[in-house]
Structures are given as structure tokens and as C-alpha cells.
């Protein structure tokens, strides 16, 4: 036992909270390469390894490209594999992200989301994870340290259940470096929840030799990709089943998204990550003034639970989709997904695309209040609005 207490109520940074969940899961292999603001996760875990609290094989590699490549090898060999990164690290991994998902390897990657260069910026936004949104990975966002902890546990089980690699995302600095209250589960409960990892097929199963990632040309590549996409579609309901199982275990509500004062809301903000907490405070304030406002916080982003989200928006008149990323040359990612869902269900709403907090720019409650006020006034502009 170290001074990191094993008591139920503790205070940890989001990064340390993720490392605590990983300690309880105790993966077989963790290839790592440091990058701000992810480093506290692997640093905390490496210390646990050095202290003999876990037996995970930590592989220090020479780049993020190698970290994910080693993860692919390790996972294909049959080992429960976890890594972590941010920003340029995730961008450098890009080509191997598709290999991990195409080979259906259930790697868990914890991400402290950060801006992409240039100009150089080490602070939080969602540019890195949005860049990876089409790579065939499941993506789960976290609002705070508690959700980072919970989602690491949910994400590990989900990845292995559906054999799709999974990113658990927290906001760089605002969550990764902020000490917040955390309730942790008993380690044996976490181990029992996640279970042992016995892949159906793996390279070190010498009795049943298989090939991973072979050549597939015109006659079969297409079928592989369609099958992969079908698995991704099935992951929607599998996520919910595992999230609800975790809810029963922890007592903390889990769903595709968090509906905060959403049921009768006429003006709604949709966003993902740490600004959700600030938005809830604003919703409470405006509700006290009799304004029917609400929040839809995205938890599961890939696969995108389109049907369920648009169903929850049926009473909304005006919607602002606030994002910490740009999709250059068009509207930002979540906006595109929401618009698509609304169109498919023939719902006409006033919708506004807002970009905020790029490169760690602070977002204040007063900024969010202004977004709601503009929604109430239906003072909408067609173009993307930037909260500078």
C-alpha cells in the first residue's frame, strides 16, 4: 500500500483517475510514449509498475507510431493491451489506427485531447480525436475525472466484447490535470466486471494458426470493410448494455448521452467533454428564471447513436452544437452528425454551429449563457459562430 489511498472517496486528477482504473484492470501489455497532456497517465502507471503493484509489461518505445504498432502486435498475440496519447501523438498513429480496427483488435487507448499544430499548442481541444473519428475506433467522451475512470472500465470491456479498438477521451488539462472528487470501486469488482481476456483467435495460439491482416484485393476487401462497419453498428447497443451493467455496479447513471433538463427544453446545447459541467450550472440558473433550456452531453460519439439522440431532441425548438474542433472547409463534426439525424427523421429545428475553446481558450459560464440567450431570441446565423 502506498499513500495513494484505497478508500472509496479520494481526489485525483483525471489522468491519475484513468491510471487508477488501469491499475484495477491490470492489462497485460502497455506500450507507451510520453506526450503532454497525456503523460500523467502513463507516468502514474509506470510508478505503480515500479512499486510492484501491477505486473503489466510496459514497453517504452521511440514514438507514438511505434506505441500503436507494438499495441497491434501485442493485441494480435492475445494480450490485453492499453496505450495512451494526445494530439500529435494520435496524428502520428493515424495509419496504424486503421490497421488496429481493420484487424479487429480490442486495444484500449486513453486520450487527453489536445490541439493539433501548427501553431504549436499543448492545450485542450478535440482536434486530435475528431481527426481520428473515421478510423474505425469506438470513441467515448468524459466530462470529468470520475467519468474518465468509469469510461476506462466500460471501454475495456466494450472493446473486447465487440472486438473494436476503443478510445476513452478526456479533455487535456481541464480534466487530465485537475484534481477532483473520485469514487472508486473495489478492485475485485472491477476485475470481475471486465473479466479475463480470452480472444477467440490469437497469434500465439499455435494449435490453431491464423493470419491477421492479410492481403485482400478486389474480390474481398470490400466485404471485410462492410463486415467491420456492421460490427460498428452492433457496438451501439453493446455499449448501452455494458454502460447499464456498469450503472448497476457503480450507482452512477450511464447512457449514450446525458440528458440534463432536456425533456421539456425548448433551447438545447449539445456538446462533449468538460464544458458540460459549466453548462449544467448555467442551465440551473436559467431554469430558475423560468427559461426552458437544457443540455445534451455526448458520451458515445463513435458509433454515433443517431436515432436515440434525435429522439431526445424532439421537443427542442433551437439547438446550438458547441464543438472544440473545426472540420476544415465544412461544418464541424458533431454538427454534421446531428443535422444528418434530424434530416433523416424529418425534424426541422433552428440549429447553430458554434466553435469554442480551441487551443485551451477558457470558456466561461457567461459565454454559455449568451449562447442560450441567442437561442431564446432565435438570433441565429447560418454560418459557424466562433466564441473567441
Amino acid at each position: 500500500m502506498t499513500n495513494r489511498t484505497r478508500q472509496n472517496r479520494i481526489a485525483l486528477t483525471g489522468g491519475a483517475a484513468a491510471a487508477e482504473a488501469l491499475r484495477q484492470i491490470e492489462p497485460d501489455v502497455m506500450p507507451v510514449y510520453p506526450i503532454t497532456p497525456q503523460t500523467p497517465i502513463i507516468e502514474t502507471y509506470a510508478k505503480l509498475r515500479a512499486d510492484g503493484e501491477v505486473v503489466t509489461e510496459i514497453i517504452q518505445v521511440e514514438s507514438e507510431h511505434s506505441a500503436i504498432s507494438a499495441s497491434v502486435g501485442s493485441s494480435a498475440a492475445g494480450a490485453r493491451t492499453v496505450t495512451a496519447t494526445s494530439s500529435q501523438g494520435l496524428a502520428l498513429m493515424n495509419e496504424i489506427l486503421y490497421i488496429a480496427s481493420g484487424m479487429r483488435l480490442p486495444i484500449l487507448m486513453v486520450i487527453s485531447a489536445r490541439a493539433l499544430s501548427a501553431p504549436i499548442n499543448i492545450h485542450g481541444d478535440h482536434s486530435d480525436v475528431m481527426d481520428a473519428r473515421d478510423a474505425g475506433w469506438i470513441q467515448i467522451f468524459s466530462e470529468n475525472a470520475q467519468e474518465a475512470y468509469d469510461n476506462v472500465i466500460i471501454g475495456m470491456k466494450l472493446a473486447e466484447k465487440v472486438r473494436i479498438p476503443t478510445m476513452v477521451i478526456m479533455d487535456g488539462f481541464s480534466t487530465s490535470h485537475s484534481v477532483e472528487n473520485l469514487e472508486i470501486l473495489p478492485s475485485e469488482k472491477v476485475k470481475e466486471f471486465v473479466g479475463e481476456f480470452w480472444p477467440e483467435k490469437y497469434l500465439l495460439d499455435v494449435e490453431n494458426p491464423v493470419t491477421f491482416g492479410p492481403l485482400a484485393l478486389q474480390n474481398s476487401y470490400f466485404e471485410f470493410k462492410v463486415d467491420q462497419e456492421k460490427a460498428m453498428e452492433r457496438a451501439v447497443s453493446e455499449y448501452l448494455a455494458i454502460a447499464k451493467e456498469f450503472e448497476r455496479l457503480s450507482g452512477r447513471k450511464k447512457d449514450y448521452f446525458e440528458a440534463y433538463e432536456l425533456e421539456d427544453a425548448e433551447q438545447v446545447i449539445i456538446l462533449a467533454g468538460s464544458a458540460a459541467g459549466t453548462t449544467k450550472d448555467v442551465v440551473d440558473k436559467l431554469r430558475k428564471q423560468g427559461k426552458k433550456v437544457g443540455l445534451l452531453k455526448i458520451n458515445l460519439f463513435r458509433p454515433f447513436p443517431r436515432k436515440e439522440i434525435v429522439e431526445a431532441l424532439k421537443n427542442a425548438k433551437s439547438i446550438a452544437i458547441m464543438e472544440r474542433a473545426i472540420s476544415s472547409g465544412t461544418y464541424p463534426p458533431i454538427y454534421q452528425d446531428i443535422l444528418n439525424g434530424l434530416y433523416q427523421t424529418k425534424q426541422e429545428k433552428n440549429i447553430q454551429s458554434i466553435v469554442y475553446s480551441l487551443g485551451g481558450r477558457d470558456i466561461f459560464a457567461k459565454d454559455i449563457e449568451k449562447v442560450f440567450e441567442n437561442l431564446i431570441k432565435e438570433d441565429m446565423i447560418g454560418e459557424i459562430k466562433y466564441i473567441l
Binding site: 479520494i10 481526489a11 481541464s174 484534481v179 468538460s274
Partner: protein, 189 residues
């Protein structure tokens, strides 16, 4: 907790390497041990040894959801008085709120320097630390004064937390001295 808001907010001003982050985290963990809700986070910027830093602490009896930086503190703590030469530390601090400064100077001198109209507590945290511990540990020593002024957490909770973190690292004797220094800062007027 004294003062007026649902969430009690403290800003620490220090220089990189002076241990404001450690002090903030001890305070936060002590509050958690009392069943309270907390946040402790640095101002996110490049931290260089010796450069001015800001560290934020929130303590509340209910869940803290905001992730805004603190702009309207109840108390401002300055670990290193030379910060006052380059930074305006009293932004957002009202007349009924408090400024705690680690300094050999008097509260009157600090008032002259800052022009702050509210309560000023000048505490020679470095001097107390050198006298009792024999080493400069103003960051943890000043916790005693913060607790006395704000009543945000109990002195016992801070001491228990300090012991829990440091006893294995620095031994019982050094821990006892540090705690004595925290108590001394608590008792200074």
C-alpha cells in the same frame, strides 16, 4: 466556511517550483476527507521554474460541476511577496474578502504595496519554516494560516493529510516539525 458563495474559491499565486500545487492538493484532499467536494488545478500555461504561477482551489458542500478558471476568488494566497512587484493579485477580491501573503513585512506594508482595502494577513511562513523545520517550506506552513482565516477545512484534517502524504517520505521527526510549523502559522495573529 466563511464568506458568501456556495463554492469557496481560492487562488494561490507563487513561483514555479514553490509548491503551490502541493499545498492546493493537500487542502483539497483534506476537504475530501471531510466529505466535501473539491477541485484543484493550475492555471494551464507553460510552467517554468521561478516564473509566476496561479493555482486554483474550489471547496464546496455540494458537487462542483463548473470547469471555469476562478475569476472571483474569496481568498487570494501569495506564497512569494516578490510576485506583488509584477502581478495584480487582488483582481476579483472584494473588501470583505482576504489576502494572505507570505512575507516578513507587516500587513500595513502589504496594504501600501497592493492598495487592497480588504483584510490582509501577513505571515512570515518562510521564517516560521526556517525556525522550526530548518528548511524553507512556506507552501505547507502557510496552510495553517489559510485554515485559520477561511475555516474552509479543519486544521486537524490538513494535519492528518500532511502526515498521510509525508510521514513515509520524510520520517516521523521531520513530519512532526512540519506540522508544528503549520500550527504555528495557524496561531500567528
Amino acid at each position: 466556511m466563511k464568506y458568501h458563495k456556495d463554492i469557496f474559491e481560492i487562488i494561490f499565486h507563487a513561483r514555479g517550483g514553490q509548491g503551490a500545487k502541493s499545498a492546493a492538493e493537500i487542502l483539497a484532499q483534506a476537504a475530501v476527507n471531510e466529505g466535501k467536494f473539491v477541485q484543484a488545478f493550475p492555471q494551464f500555461g507553460p510552467e517554468r521554474s521561478g516564473a509566476p504561477t496561479k493555482t486554483f482551489v474550489r471547496i464546496s458542500n455540494k458537487e462542483i460541476r463548473t470547469h471555469e478558471p476562478i475569476v472571483d476568488p474569496d481568498v487570494v494566497v501569495v506564497l512569494d511577496e516578490t510576485i506583488l512587484d509584477s502581478e495584480i493579485v487582488t483582481d476579483g477580491l472584494d473588501k470583505n474578502e482576504a489576502l494572505i501573503v507570505g512575507t516578513e513585512k507587516t500587513d500595513v506594508e502589504i496594504r501600501q504595496k497592493t492598495g487592497f482595502g480588504g483584510k490582509i494577513y501577513a505571515v512570515d511562513a518562510n521564517g516560521i519554516s526556517m525556525d522550526i523545520i530548518g528548511q524553507p517550506r512556506p507552501n505547507t506552513v502557510i496552510l495553517g494560516k489559510i485554515v485559520q482565516v477561511t475555516e474552509a477545512v479543519g486544521l486537524d484534517s490538513v494535519i492528518d493529510e500532511f502526515r498521510k502524504i509525508f510521514e513515509k517520505k520524510i520520517g516521523q521527526e521531520a513530519t512532526d516539525k512540519n506540522i508544528l510549523a503549520i500550527e504555528k502559522a495557524y496561531d500567528t495573529i
